[in-house]
Every structure is written in C-alpha cells, then in structure tokens.
C-alpha cells in the first residue's frame, strides 16, 4: 500500500462515492472487517462476547480461583471434604483436605478459611472447585471436538466436492449412513462401548462426539466447493498446469470454506452441551472429575427433594446454560452476517 493510495480522494462512480477503507479494515481484510463490525454493533452478540471472555478468563485463572490441594495432585480431580453421602449447602466450613487459601479469598469473602462457596455434592465434592476447573474441561472438549470434526468434514467434503463421480457417490452414501442415527443416541452408544476398553476419561465421549459429528460440515463444505470449483481462477490454475492437490489446497479451499469455518467454531457451545448430556447419563468422565455434566448428575439421586439440594443443579446448570448461551448469541449474529440471503437486509 503506497502513501498515495491512503491519501487519495474518494473515488466517484456514477454519483456514488466509494467508501475509503479504514485502518482496521485494511489490516484484517474486508471479510473479517464486515464480521467484526457486525458483531460489535449487535447488543446480543456483544453480550455473548463478554460472557465468552469471562469463561476464557476463568479457565486461564483456574489455579488462582480454585488452587489444587497440592501441586502433585491432578487438578481436574475435585478435592473432597470427607466422604459423607449427604450434600452440604453453600457456606459450610471446609474441614478436611482444604486447598491453600488464595490471596483474593479474604478480601472477597471476608473469611480466613475455605468454606464450600457453592456447597458440596454427594460424596463431599466441592461444587465451586468443580465449576471453575470444569470451565477448562468444557473449553478443551469443545475445541478438540470442533477441530477434529472440522478436519474430517474438510477431507470428506473436499474429496467429494472436488472429484465428484464415484468418489462423491460413495462418500455421500457413507455420510448418509452416519446421519441415519439420532446423534445423541449414537454417541451415547459408542461411548458406552468404548468405556470398558479405554476406561473412564474424557476420551470415550469425545471420540463418540467426533464420530457422529462431522457429517454436516462435510455436506456444507462439499456444497461450498461445488460452487467455487467452476470459477475462472480455478480454470486458470489448471491451464497453468497446477496439480489437483495444489488447486484444491491453494485455490478452491481457501475461497470456499471461510464462512463454514467461522460458523463451525461456534458449535463449541452445542458440543459442550452434548458432552455434558453424555456425562449426565453416566458414560463420560469418572465420578469426581471436574466436569459440569458430571456435577449435575449428582442431582439424579435427589429428584424428589430438589428444593432442599437446589445448589447441586443450580450452580453447574447455570454455568452450562451461560456457556451455551454465550456461543449461541455470537453464533446467531454471525449466521445473520454471513448468510448471503440476508445481506443488505438490516436485521
């Protein structure tokens, strides 16, 4: 970009003045600029962004917000204050096995020793600790599953869309077969099959969510590619003698999948909700792992007197709801911005 270009007079075409791109627009490019501007001008998505930032900060600050009992212990195992099956309400003093007191604790709560800020679940697992570290679990699972499903979707979708013919037919049929299953049921089953083989950890549920989660991306990316591969610049590349792989990776994909990638990243919310559902149903992590669905599962034993044990549902449930809400608020706004049919319509 030369100096003249930035200071040039606005260009006039047929009475319309072309808008001069601002500094930010030049920095991130027109596509990202349109996205960012759409996001910050919509109050709902701003609320979503604030919530998301909050969750990321909680995840990053987990060792300060809820310090592990000892540096050697696995921080994802919720510390327990004894073994009694009776849950304890918020504010009860932490007697055994209390973690070190962090610097902010006395100023915020006014107390010298740890209390169970959000109460304990059955088995005396501290709910506050579980929610704080559960934020890390949620983000880890969400990012892992979205990246993996997106990669599978990209591979299947681009092979299918670019080569067409028999490859397309076969891959399409395979996609349809995976789509014939109700998602949650299939994931539940696969996780239940994998648990005896792999033991209880994040992995069975994560693998199950990946296995039955890639199909929509494959479909959408196939469509994206079908529309891009007929364009002139692809023909030009082919005329120049570029290899298939180069055309696909350098010319077709980058132009085809921008919006798909952006939208996929926002599925993290939905994925974490599904993961929590699997945990709630008992095919997720081991009991006592810092994971929101696992915490809420403790409430299953008390469905007849939930008014007494409300804190087992309310705090982790709220965490899960706000997490899902954050991604959906941003996602909804983005979908409107990226939807070509709605372009130009003020929403």
């Amino acid at each position: 970009m030369t100096a003249e270009a930035t200071t040039a007079k606005p260009v006039q075409i047929g009475g319309y003045t072309l808008r001069e791109p601002g500094r930010l627009e030049k920095l991130v490019g027109p596509e990202w600029y349109r996205l960012l501007r759409g996001l910050v001008t919509n109050p709902l998505s701003v609320a979503g962004i604030i919530l998301l930032t909050g969750f990321v900060l909680i995840a990053l600050a987990a060792p300060i917000l809820a310090p592990p009992i000892s540096p050697r212990a696995d921080p994802y195992n919720i510390p327990r204050d004894g073994f009694s099956p009776e849950p304890k309400p918020p504010g009860v003093e932490w007697r055994r096995n209390a973690p070190p007191v962090p610097f902010w604790y006395k100023t915020v709560t006014g107390k010298e020793q740890w209390v169970h800020l959000f109460g304990t679940a059955s088995g005396q697992f501290d709910i506050y600790y579980g929610i704080v570290w559960g934020t890390r679990t949620a983000l880890r699972v969400g990012i892992l599953v979205v990246l993996s499903t997106l990669v599978i979707g990209l591979i299947v979708g681009s092979l299918s869309g670019y080569y067409g013919g028999v490859i397309d037919d076969v891959l399409q049929r395979i996609t349809e077969i995976f789509m014939a299953f109700p998602f949650l049921l299939a994931a539940l089953t696969l996780a239940a099959v994998l648990v005896p083989r792999m033991g209880r950890s994040l992995w069975p549920a994560v693998i199950a969510l990946i296995t039955f989660g890639w199909m929509t991306y494959a479909r959408v990316i196939r469509g994206d590619i079908l529309s891009v591969k007929e364009r002139d610049f692809v023909l030009a590349a082919r005329v120049l003698g570029a290899k298939d792989s180069r055309i696909l990776l350098r010319h077709v994909l980058p132009n085809a999948v921008f919006s798909t990638m952006v939208l996929a990243s926002l599925d993290i919310g939905a994925i974490v909700l599904s993961f929590a559902a699997l945990s709630f149903l008992g095919v997720g992590t081991d009991i006592g792992y810092a994971d929101w669905g696992q915490l809420i599962a403790f409430a299953r034993a008390y469905i007849l007197n939930l008014d007494q044990y409300w804190y087992i549902v309310l705090f982790p449930g709220l965490a899960l709801l706000l997490f899902g809400l954050a991604w959906n608020l941003v996602g909804d706004a983005l979908r409107d911005i990226l939807d070509p049919k709605l372009r130009g319509v003020r929403g």
């Binding site: 149903l281 095919v283 469905i303 309310l314």
Partner: protein, 354 residues
C-alpha cells in the same frame, strides 16, 4: 412423483445395510466373550461353556461371516432351532432389563409413544405459530422476544431445564410428580377390569371411562412434555421464521401486495403456504429431537419409557441392549425421513422434477 419415490426407495437398502454394518462394527470393539452375551441369558458356569458358545455362534470367525450370522441368525446344533439374527427381530438378551431386548422394547414403547404424541401436538402447533408471529412482526417486539426465547431454548441443556422445573413444580409445590402414574392409579391400571387396549395410559383411561386415571396420567406427563417442547420450540421457531422471511421477499408477494390484497390475505394465502414447505422437513428433525430428547427427559423424570431404559443400559455398559435400541431407533428415523421426503416432494413440485 412415482419415479421420485422409486428413486428414493432404491437408496433405502444401502442406508439400512450401512446402518447395520456400523452397529456391527461398534460391536467388534468388544471381545468374543463379551459378544457371547447376545446369545446367553444366564451367567455361564465355566470357561468351557463360554468357549462352546463362541464356537457355536462363530464369534471368532472372520468379520463378514460374523456379520452374516448376526443378521440372519444361526441354527443351534443341539436343539435345531434358529437363534439370533437381528433381521428376525432377535436383538439379544438385555442384562439390565432381565428380558430379551425385543421384549424390553415392546414393554417400554407405549410409554414413549404416549409422551411423544402429547409433545408433538404443542411442539408443531405452537412452534410454527411462534415462528410466523416472529416473521410477520419482523424486527418488532414479538420478533425480538421470540429470538431471545429461541436462543435461550437451544442453549438450555435438557437435563438442567428438566431438573429446574422438577425443583419448582414438584419439589417446592408437589403439583406435577415424576414417574408415569401414582401408586393408586397404577393399581387401577393393572387390575383385571381395566382393559388395556393400547397400553397408552391416557387413551386407555378414556376408553375405560376412568377420568381420574386420565387426569393422573396427564399430571405425570406434564413436566416431561413441557421439557421436550421448550427445547424443540426453539428450533421450529427459528426455521419457520427464516423460511417465512425468505418467502416474504419473493416477487409474487410483491405482486400480491401491488394488486391491493390485504396484508392478512397476503400472509395467509401467499406467504404462509410457500413458507411452510421447508418446515415440513422439520417433521424429520422433530422425530430426531424426540428420540434424543426422551433419553434425557425420561431419565430426569424417572419416566419408564424406552429412553430411560436406554440410558440405564448405557450407564451400566450393557452394550447389547444399547446397540439393540439404537438399531431400532435408527430404523424408526430412516422410516420417518422417508415419509418426510415423500411428503416434501408431494408439497413441492420442484423437488419431484429434479
């Protein structure tokens, strides 16, 4: 139209074969000893017995042979009877249900059908109505309210919503209890002079003229129905709204307005009719949503249907039951999607002539 249906039907065997293959592949994660649970009911007395079953049913044979045996069954060499074979409806023995998977499904199906039927009517009726209202009042207050309602709806984990309504409407107030019937009603239903026509409690109660039982069944159905509805409304509202908005931008709508038709006629006759075509696909999505939803909803409300049986089987790692249920549900879904596709072609001529 016929050609379209035939084309659509020709794809069916491929999907069904694929589904069974995938389920069978999931089964291969298990060892032959664990897979022998498909064919035996009692805990085997010794290793030799397990060995014999594995040999008898070919559980250590190559993948293709095993798959075939699993599909069509095999002849028991001692009794000469055919055993196994998912195509014959033999899905194995359920450890958690203490009966065959087929019997378990038959026993649990009516409860789930009852719940699904009671949910379906408000889901579709109110969901579409909300979507139309939002689109007609685009960017006005009803639209904004509907959008917030929808976003919260699909951000709400089913089990959290269920537990919260249970907390408020049962634990605090005692209004709507979990389960399927109160104890007294259960005794009435199981008594000899209560005829079970359909095993759907509300319907049977009406047919037996027991309105007290009917009301009791409704009381138990209320919370799970609300839970299933809220989550589904969000989806239906969103799809109807965007479909309506798109239809409202079409040229023929402008024409209709230009020739002076009233707004009511334009919306009812021109927009809604066309906008509801894509909404028909939601029928398929609703079935998926219900199949997924009942697993969690029934578990939360202790409702004795297929969903809670599946959840229990999965949690106790009873793989035979779980896979049997998934096969059954996948088949249901394939049939539902087929019906939706044909319906869609019937509604929209453009699909037929593709």
């Amino acid at each position: 139209m016929t050609a379209y249906i035939i084309r659509r039907l020709l794809l069916l065997p491929i999907t069904v074969t694929g589904v069974t293959l995938l389920i069978f592949a999931m089964m291969q994660v298990l060892s032959p000893v664990e897979r022998s649970a498909l064919y035996i009911r009692d805990i085997p007395k010794n290793d030799a017995q397990v060995e014999r079953i594995i040999r008898q049913y070919g559980l250590d044979r190559p993948f293709v042979v095993q798959y075939w045996t699993w599909l069509v069954g095999t002849r028991n060499p001692e009794t000469g009877q055919r055993v196994g074979g998912v195509l014959r409806g033999d899905l194995g023995y359920s450890r958690t249900g203490n009966q065959t998977v087929k019997e378990l499904i038959a026993q649990r199906l009516p409860a789930t059908v009852e719940l699904a039927l009671w949910s379906m009517i408000p889901i579709i009726g109110i969901g579409i109505w909300l979507g139309i209202q939002a689109a007609v009042h685009h960017n006005e207050l009803p639209d904004q309210a509907a959008r917030v309602f929808a976003i919260i709806g699909y951000s709400f984990p089913t089990f959290v919503f269920g537990l919260l309504v249970l907390m408020l409407l049962y634990a605090k107030t005692g209004w709507f209890p979990p389960g399927r019937l109160s104890d007294w009603a259960d005794i009435v239903v199981k008594s000899a002079d209560f005829k079970r026509y359909t095993h759907i409690n509300t319907l049977d109660a009406l047919l037996n003229l027991r309105f007290d039982v009917f009301l009791d069944a409704l009381r138990h159905l209320f919370l799970p129905t609300i839970t299933l509805c809220y989550i589904q409304w969000a989806l239906l509202l969103k799809i109807t709204r965007s479909s309506m908005l798109e239809a409202m931008r079409q040229d023929y709508v402008r024409t209709a307005r230009a020739k002076g038709l009233s707004e009511k006629v334009v919306i009812n006759r021109h927009v809604r009719k066309n906008a509801l075509i894509p909404v028909a696909t939601v029928g398929g999505l609703t079935v998926v949503g219900l199949l997924n939803g009942v697993v969690i909803t029934e578990t939360v409300f202790n409702y004795p249907g297929m969903g809670s049986a599946l959840a229990r089987a999965a949690a106790s790692l009873d793989v035979v039951t779980t896979l049997g249920f998934v096969l059954f549900n996948a088949t249901l879904l394939i049939v539902a999607n087929l019906i939706v596709d044909i319906l869609y072609a019937f509604l929209d001529p453009r699909v037929r002539y593709q």
